[in-house]
């Protein structure tokens, strides 16, 4: 893997620099999504897979994990907690 020095970057023309900036921003956004997916998978695996009996996800487990259930309920919980805390902070 070749090393990029600061010197190389400053030698880039403005158009390339702008393109790189956009690239970094878009990869950053993608990375945040990935991070959320890791969090949800961790949570939902713990909630929906009580024990390991087989090597594949059963229908019931899949339904539990599907957004309609596990992730949505987590997001609902999150919103609920945010509201509750902001209410108690207003008192």
């Amino acid at each position: 893997m070749s090393q990029i020095s600061k010197n190389d970057i400053t030698q880039l023309d403005e158009a390339s620099q702008a393109e790189l900036l956009k690239f970094v921003e878009s990869e950053n956004a993608k990375a945040k999504l990935q991070s959320s997916i890791h969090l949800f998978t961790d949570l939902c695996f713990k909630k929906c897979v009580p024990s390991i009996t087989t090597g594949s996800v059963s229908q019931a487990e899949s339904t539990c994990m599907q957004l309609a259930n596990c992730v949505d309920r987590f997001l609902d919980t999150n919103i609920f907690v945010v509201n509750k805390i902001s209410q108690s902070m207003q008192k």
Partner: protein, 107 residues
């Protein structure tokens, strides 16, 4: 394992970077940098996944730690890892679809 899941780039190195500052070099610098960024993101994703799988499967499979991993232990770990990755795929697909449809609704 399908590390391409994480968007890892298999772009070949576009060659040595010289300091001459020509515009063809700007392209190669830019591509090198982009490839480096993608590789680091892919690595960080893989590391995160390994960590999550290790924690979850240790919890579910190794109920009483012995002096080594038994055959039952490794069979369970095998199944557990596969299952976790399947779960990751399921959730990833649905979550990304949801994010896309949400943002379209807001547009």
């Amino acid at each position: 394992m399908a590390f391409s899941l994480f968007g890892g780039s298999d772009k070949k190195d576009t060659g040595a970077v010289t300091l001459s500052g020509e515009s063809s070099n700007a392209n190669s610098i830019k591509e090198n940098l982009q490839a480096q960024i993608l590789q680091e993101i892919a690595l960080s994703n893989a590391t995160e996944l390994i960590s999550k799988i290790s924690n979850n499967c240790y919890e579910k499979c190794i109920l009483t730690p012995g002096s080594s991993l038994s055959a039952a232990d490794t069979a369970c770990l095998d199944q557990c890892s596969e299952k976790y990755i399947q779960a990751w795929n399921i959730i990833s697909r649905r979550y990304l679809a949801r994010v896309q449809s949400d943002s379209k609704g807001l547009a």
